[in-house]
């Protein structure tokens, strides 16, 4: 199967970006250097093409019930224009994916004005099939991770039919490019090309606004720990919006080091239903679970919450030279296993080797001195609670 490409692929290639396969997409991993890109986001601003993220739109009279029963958080808490982080769990409470849920502004359809034909070539699929919901039913957008859009679309449709709910689900992933502008200068850069409209968007809020003349669904969210925005841009207008910001282009390499410093989970790596099955409690995002709501996995998670967990997502900082990586074992002074790492890097901000992974709650709480086994050699490390940097 061929890789999916973001609309800006050729623009990135012209900038001499190097590319990587990620979740079935060919995405830019590095434009200049990870260190340069990382520093730009921490100190000024950087822009990322994250068009590999999915977009699913859920509308209709039972949209709220469908969203609520398939995500761990309480979707009824959302007012129009609010966003919420949530997990999508299976019957056992294992995380299938994590996602941002947006309750869309009332009375406005989330539709791309793009004239690009539908991905499957079926021009009968209308881009205007999201009701504006004049009935007043809340409608939603959620963002599955790269490569999970088709799987989540099927999941939503199957459960909708099983529960006999009246809701429309649409996979809009290839109607929208997604660009993330992040960094302390992001608010000024965004205000300059939106006539100040982005200044009215608070953290974890979203609204439509014109970015360099292009109508974008704009949220004050991100994956770096910095202030900034994520723009859903009609596929064919991606270049206009990308070019509107005079700042450092950044690839997935810097996106990874930035999220690692914050201790943010990476789907498919820090949790994965097949290779790293974890509940939200183990993954350190138990706060996304609202047991007062009904959702797939709720009963299993109630039991986990009652009985406690053996391992929990933690950070480690190496005290010796080396770079922690995915899969490395963590042991105590006697070589007894305490857990393993799921992510790691040399922190560009701190200049220290940092790692994330699952460690014994009993034997390796924060403050414990442990050893990370790097190519057979135990290296001293301290267990910490992420984030690794003050944000």
């Amino acid at each position: 199967m061929g890789l999916r490409k973001p609309p800006l692929h050729a623009i990135h290639a012209d900038l001499d970006a190097s590319f990587t396969e990620f979740g079935g997409w060919e995405m830019p991993v590095e434009f200049d250097s990870i260190r340069t890109e990382h520093a730009a986001v921490r100190e000024s601003a950087g822009i990322f093409d994250v068009s590999h993220m999915g977009e699913l739109v859920v509308s209709g009279p039972d949209a709220t019930e469908l969203m609520g029963r398939l995500t761990t958080n309480d979707v009824t808490e959302l007012d129009a224009g609010d966003t919420q982080y949530a997990c999508i769990t299976d019957d056992e409470g294992v995380i299938l994916d994590d996602t941002m849920v947006f309750r869309l502004p009332d009375g406005v359809a989330l539709r791309s004005t793009s004239s690009r034909p539908a991905a499957d070539g079926d021009s009968s699929i209308s881009r205007t099939d999201t009701p504006t919901d004049s009935e007043g039913h809340p409608h939603y957008l959620f963002i599955p991770n790269a490569g999970h859009d088709a799987e989540m679309y099927t999941r939503w449709i199957e459960y909708r039919d099983e529960w006999d709910l009246d809701a429309t689900v649409r996979n809009a992933t290839e109607e929208w490019a997604m660009l993330a502008l992040q960094g302390p200068d992001a608010t000024d850069l965004a205000a300059a090309v939106t006539d100040g409209a982005t200044n009215d968007i608070d953290r974890f809020q979203a609204a439509f606004c014109d970015v360099a003349g292009v109508r974008c669904f704009t949220s004050r969210t991100g994956y770096t720990g910095e202030d900034g925005f994520e723009f859903l841009v009609p596929w064919d207008d991606a270049e206009t919006v990308w070019s509107a910001f005079d700042c450092q282009p950044c690839g997935l390499g810097a996106r990874d080091t930035l999220r690692l410093e914050m201790g943010f989970l990476l789907s498919g790596q820090d949790f994965d239903p097949a290779d790293e099955p974890r509940t939200p409690y183990e993954a350190g995002v138990g706060w996304t679970v609202d047991l007062d709501t009904e959702f797939v996995g709720r009963d299993a998670l109630e039991a986990v919450e009652r009985e406690g967990i053996d391992e929990r997502f933690r950070g480690v900082v190496l005290q010796q030279r080396g770079v922690p990586r995915h899969g490395y074992e963590v042991v105590d002074a006697d070589g007894e296993r305490l857990g393993h790492l799921t992510s790691g890097t040399m922190s560009p901000t701190l200049g220290e080797p940092i790692g994330l992974g699952y460690l014994s709650t009993e034997q390796a709480p924060p403050g414990t001195r442990v050893r990370v086994v790097v190519r057979g050699e135990p290296k001293q490390a301290n267990v910490v609670t992420p984030p690794f940097i003050d944000k």
């Binding site: 250097s33 990870i34 260190r35 390499g253 030279r321 770079v323 890097t345 560009p348």
Partner: protein, 127 residues
């Protein structure tokens, strides 16, 4: 993009270089290799007196994004290690053919050097 491939040394397909003063040989990684790796953050090298073997692993170089084994172009005994790299692994990005050298080896078989790729042969491979 074109990479620097000095003609005063020989190369291995896996992107290591060697120079010789007729006595010992110096080993490092090429401009192409450092660019592929990106920001180098860690280097693991053998110690003085260790043996290395042709095409055998002699160390590890890690960038932010990748871990890569180092392959020795020749067999012999390590007689020098660039310890500056431990504190300043970025020298590998800044000056891969100069201050970013890795180890010096006393070859056990002088003939091995001549078997390595010339600059032209190596350049062809990276184009």
């Amino acid at each position: 993009m074109s990479f620097d491939v000095p003609t005063d040394r020989r190369y291995l397909e896996s992107h290591e270089w060697t120079t010789t003063d007729g006595d010992s040989v110096r080993i490092g990684i090429t401009d192409f290799a450092q660019d592929e790796l990106g920001d180098v953050v860690f280097v693991e090298l053998p110690a003085d007196g260790d043996e290395v073997t042709k095409e055998g692993e002699f160390g590890v170089v890690e960038s932010i994004k990748a871990v890569s084994d180092l392959v020795s172009p020749i067999s012999g005994t390590v007689v020098g290690v660039n310890e500056d790299l431990f504190d300043a692994p970025e020298l590998l990005n800044e000056d891969p053919y100069g201050d970013g050298w890795m180890i010096e080896v006393e070859p056990s078989d002088d003939g091995e050097f001549e078997d390595l790729l010339t600059a032209d042969e190596y350049r062809e491979q990276t184009e």
